[in-house]
Subunit: 346 residues, 2 copies
């Protein structure tokens, strides 16, 4: 096979899916995995078979791809332009649809666009992206209710968990923000029965006020999760197979760059990804088609032409750059899954 | 149109193409633009019509897409696996093909795989990626010649020009490295008539020993080039149109994130991209579908639903995430160009 290519180990994947399903069940939480990570109907099917209550997606396009799931939450503050309105209306006839809302103005526009649409109010629990402050959630919910939307609760993304040692703090923030927001809805006589949060780094700690969690990355794992300590090397299901094309001293180049791996690199990352079979190596630079790898002195540098498995920093970016996933079991290729929702950004 | 989408202003594009063609002609340099940036046969056709001597590409797949250019240089140290060998042999019958080589071992393998193939020896001029030290270029060239390859000269990528104030130094390094390497080839009686370098940040300074330059990004410009001072706002031809979906104080969110823009962000960048119509704004964070934008106090925050043009940091990544480019002239959509070489990574 020509390198670089993206491989999924089906055994590791299935173990990851089972493990998260069991974790959610043990905590009494609904599991609504985020399909943005895998973008693959085959993996969605497995998640649902293991008890997921539905899927989370980020865009209307993704909701369209995953409509067969039957129950889809677009965890995003959708603005209902005329084109989006038409698509949302079509979807409501095909799937149990729920979307995010984070302002009275959006709620009014959504209510005019898609009367009766189910919404969760997005709360900012510390990531400071979209979402309202917990104390403002009541006003948004009231506006949504007045606009004719069906308020079902609140959600947040504790994205500030993405840093070493930050998970416990983020989980506490998430729980406090959702509790306060849900109480505000209840005080206005509105339904707050859904309190949705969670992410792969916080999934092991989730609890408190949550009723639902939405992890995405756990299906594959990635170098970020390994470096955060929220996943082991044996839980990494997706790698990019790459060929050594150049070498000089302890430095060598493989042919998987940012156009395959993605360029995501948090300030705390050790480099541009990792090598599954050589944890000591560091990817010191990524160009579009080069990963520059450095080995400590004393480690044998691989030969030209040798193939290595690269673990991307952020697997969601890697999948979105691929047309298909090569599925292996015991090292043998057993299937190819299309990345059906690749580029589904609208 | 549904946002986010990628727009190319054809007038700005054409001005950029003409300007670089004139610059190369004025300096007596062959212009071999890097097609990795645009991945579009329509733009390649325009480059060739304006006098480009051929194209540069990064992969064999890209060479296949651009074979109609007639003359293609794969500026990459290709390792000839059996599958690559078959493709390279097929290409040599279809196009004037040249590839990079940076070791005696690769040269021997390439010579066995594709006898007679034209090669340029890759030299490391300071970027420390692939390429041999200038003083080692002679030995690689001799090995290539002995292996039955056709040595035509040397090339380098002065990637260390990608930093504020580094362009002059990188150009001096490039010129010195290519001079030394070419002299080594000549001393062994080998052809060093091609001395190929250059990049968009160094194109304005290129000269010295160079016979050919290979800029890529100049066709579109991007936020990196603006922040390096190597392109003006009026030379930015490609933007991503995005919708304001959330706002809070001086902060707002648009629906173009890293899955559309790419996640490239050099340490010296001011953020995750820029807004074409508001240079004072800063993109303080990029998620997959959110760009978090902050405006200075006193600047009016755009309304929910308003559409803005985002300039990506690194346009090559943006193009590789798109299926098509929406072509506009005077604000009117006049065409759609497919990104034919999107994902052509092998």
């Amino acid at each position: 096979m020509l390198t670089p290519y993206v491989t999924v180990d089906a055994d590791v994947l299935d173990a990851n899916l089972r493990s998260m399903a069991e974790r959610a069940a043990a905590r009494g939480l609904a599991l609504r995995p985020h399909a943005k990570t895998h973008k693959s109907p085959e993996i969605a099917r497995r998640q649902l078979a293991l008890g997921a209550t539905g899927l989370t997606v980020a865009t209307v396009s993704e909701a369209e791809v995953f409509r067969d799931a039957g129950d889809v939450f677009i965890a995003y503050p959708i603005w209902p332009s005329p084109e989006q309105t038409a698509r949302l209306r079509a979807l409501t006839g095909q799937v149990n649809l729920r979307v995010g809302v984070d302002s009275a103005e959006s709620a009014e526009a959504l209510g005019r666009a898609v009367p009766g649409l189910e919404v969760l109010v997005e709360v900012d629990s510390g990531h400071h992206r979209s979402g309202v402050a917990p104390e403002a959630a009541g006003a948004v919910a009231v506006a949504a209710d007045k606009a004719g939307l069906t308020v079902r609760g609140v959600f947040t993304f504790p994205g500030h968990a993405y840093g070493p040692g930050r998970q416990s703090l983020a989980v506490a923030d998430e729980s406090a923000a959702l509790s306060e927001a849900a109480a505000a809805l209840t005080a206005h006589g509105l339904d707050a029965s859904v309190r949705s949060g969670g992410s792969t780094p916080t999934a092991g700690l989730a609890g408190g006020t949550l009723t639902e969690m939405r992890p995405g990355v756990y299906v594959f794992g990635d170098a970020q999760q390994v470096e955060l300590g929220t996943c082991g090397w044996d839980q990494v299901a997706l790698t990019v197979t790459a060929t050594v094309v150049s070498r000089s001293g302890q430095r060598f180049i493989v042919d998987a760059g940012s156009k395959v791996l993605g360029a995501d690199q948090q300030a705390w990352a050790t480099g541009g990804g990792r090598l599954l079979d050589c944890p000591e190596a560091r990817i010191t630079a990524l160009s579009e088609h080069h990963a520059t790898v450095v080995l400590p002195d004393g480690h044998d540098v691989p030969s030209l032409g040798e193939r290595l498995r690269v673990v991307p920093n952020h697997v969601c970016a890697t999948v979105n750059l691929a047309d298909e996933l090569i599925v292996v079991t015991g090292g043998e290729v057993v299937d190819r899954w299309p990345v059906t929702a690749r580029g589904a950004n609208t």
